[in-house]
Homo-oligomer: 363 residues x 2
């Protein structure tokens, strides 16, 4: 046996012995999780027991990242613990998670990222199907897109929060990439126009300035629409869109990841039937409407400024009878200052719906 083989043999024995210890601890953890389920069932009716606690999971992950000393990177360890919690939870209670299908979409990726591989994920054909399954209790949780870096907020999802009684239990973020698409066998040199949603044109400006400085930039309603325009086109148009659109319309990906900020993210919401307790670092989402009079939005936002609560997103939806606003802000509805703002809002608004407080995305 060579020196190398000897040294490797020693290290591999160490690894095997570590693996055995990890293995034992994983099963110990799983049996603790089973006991947690038993205790809950002893004191509560089976239908009242909440097995999945997003706030506790977020706390565990944050603690893992805080105490991590390496050599494993913080995010990798946290991801491993997410999977550990996922398999333990599946033992307590198999989770059924509905998502906007089909399988293989980014929404499924988001569901997997949040619930781990041990949850049963069920693809549904529309966001309203997801809301309906969650409201009826057929699915424990649902995952729906809410923000998309190229199309902005997903308005359809917003509108459904008015129609269904589900609460937001969490958020998930995924990185997104934008590509330059050409029709099949197209030549980049012939491109005279680049079409895309205006946000994507803006996000890829530096790349376009360098590589296609003479091409006209044309904003269209969505990147999907931009990709569709290439079908049957004469080869002088390029589109900016993601992998899905390239596949859908059988386009060539002439250049990958042309966005200036490579950390573009898209956001998904976890919906459920449960009020999530504070995890310490939370967000709250509300729908609030007012008569359409001058200064309405200012009146609604002023309490946030006055109480120094950071807004993370404000969306305006025009409606027949006035305006509706979707507002995300930092903090939990059980925090004193948030409670105060919500009470003030209830007075000045026509309608106020608390969609949920939930842990800010950890990973």
């Amino acid at each position: 046996m060579s020196d190398q083989e000897k040294e490797l043999g020693v290290l591999r024995q160490q690894i095997d012995s570590i693996d055995k210890q990890i293995h034992e601890l994983l099963n110990q953890r799983a049996s603790c999780a089973q006991q947690v389920a038993e205790v809950k069932l002893k004191y509560q009716g089976a239908s009242d027991v909440v097995f999945y606690r997003p706030e506790r999971e977020a706390q565990v992950l944050r603690r893992v990242m805080e105490r991590n000393e390496g050599p494993l990177p913080d995010k990798d360890v946290a991801r491993l613990f997410r999977e550990v919690m996922s398999v333990c939870l599946a033992l307590e209670k198999p989770m059924r998670v509905a998502f906007l299908g089909p399988a293989g979409t980014f929404t499924q990726q988001a569901a997997l990222k949040h619930f781990g591989l041990s949850a049963e994920s069920v693809p549904l054909n529309s966001v309203s199907d997801v809301f309906r399954e969650v409201q009826s209790g057929n699915a424990h949780y649902g995952v729906v897109p809410i923000e998309n870096s190229s199309e902005g907020i997903v308005n359809h999802t917003l509108d459904l929060f008015k129609r269904y009684d589900v609460t937001i239990c969490g958020e998930v973020e995924l990185p997104v990439h934008q590509h330059l698409l050409l029709k099949q066998d197209g030549d980049r040199k012939e491109v005279k126009r680049v079409v895309a949603h205006h946000q994507s044109l803006a996000q890829c400006r530096a790349w376009l300035d360098t590589h296609l400085p003479d091409a006209e930039r044309v904003a269209v309603s969505s990147n999907g629409e931009a990709a569709r325009m290439l079908v049957g086109s004469d080869g002088t148009i390029a589109a900016i869109a993601g992998d899905m659109a390239a596949e859908l319309y059988e386009l060539d990906i002439a250049e990958r990841n042309i966005e200036d900020q490579p950390d573009n993210r898209t956001r998904f919401l976890i919906v459920g039937n449960q009020v999530v307790e504070s995890s310490g670092v939370d967000k709250t989402s509300i729908l609030v409407s007012s008569k359409n009079k001058p200064g309405a939005l200012y009146q609604l936002l002023e309490p946030f400024y006055r109480n120094q609560i950071s807004l993370t997103r404000v969306e305006t939806r025009s409606m027949n009878s006035g305006c509706m606003f979707y507002i995300d802000f930092e903090g939990h509805s059980s925090d004193t200052d948030v409670e105060k703002v919500l009470n003030e809002l209830a007075v000045v608004s026509e309608e106020l719906k608390l969609l949920g407080s939930y842990p800010s995305a950890v990973l």
Copy 2:
């Protein structure tokens, strides 16, 4: 504090303490993996060092499943260890894995399942691009589809093994599902014909007999083609295909998972530039050609029967000059009996190419 809260508090403290131990062990394991890399680099040139050892990984996973006493299910623990090895390997050497894109396809799922989330996965536009990237060393490994339950073997992939010098380093299996697809807002009651690849028609026979007994069944070249036929159709046709096709052609999924055997699986190969040592439970793939004379296949298969080596797949490809066979069988090329068969084959065949010996899929 209620009794329930007290009992839960105790269990949660136990879980937190177990988590701390697991966390510490994970980092110890990672640092052992780093030392393995250092030892290899001390004795070998950087370009000669092989960091990823599929046979060792398969052995670790099999051992985990064998010694597992629960309560975690064998497969769940093995999956956790796959991820643990993935993050440790990423520390030794960040892996670049090319796959047949785009992102979100089953091939990417296969790549993730095999290499874990810590590998960098690179979507490419064709199987030959994947082979080229691997042969040139731009990617460490490639993942390509080889068998697809609805279309059988992927002939294109087979043919590329003749053109490129890459070896098979592993296999991955994924479950697949088939759906009944209708054009948008179509009505199942109006369906007079069901189109699909003949294998899919066969795989869904029981469901079709029960739910669409009067519909004519028409075999077409692929399920993708079947789905395409629905575009612009009059609503009397239904297709059988998977999620991807439904999305690609914007069809309604009228019924999910209609296959009679719900454990249909599709198979992918891992290609690389490395000879994988025996893991104990292995498969070997070869390409072998003979002059097109009567009894050619019998002559090629006879040594396997005589040496009691199980064949897992035989595919025939007609070529200008004769016939080529793709043969998968159990065993490793370093096994005495396999070596013997390969020597015999070399004599009776015109050309024999060992594509690789690799661990049988563990999960």
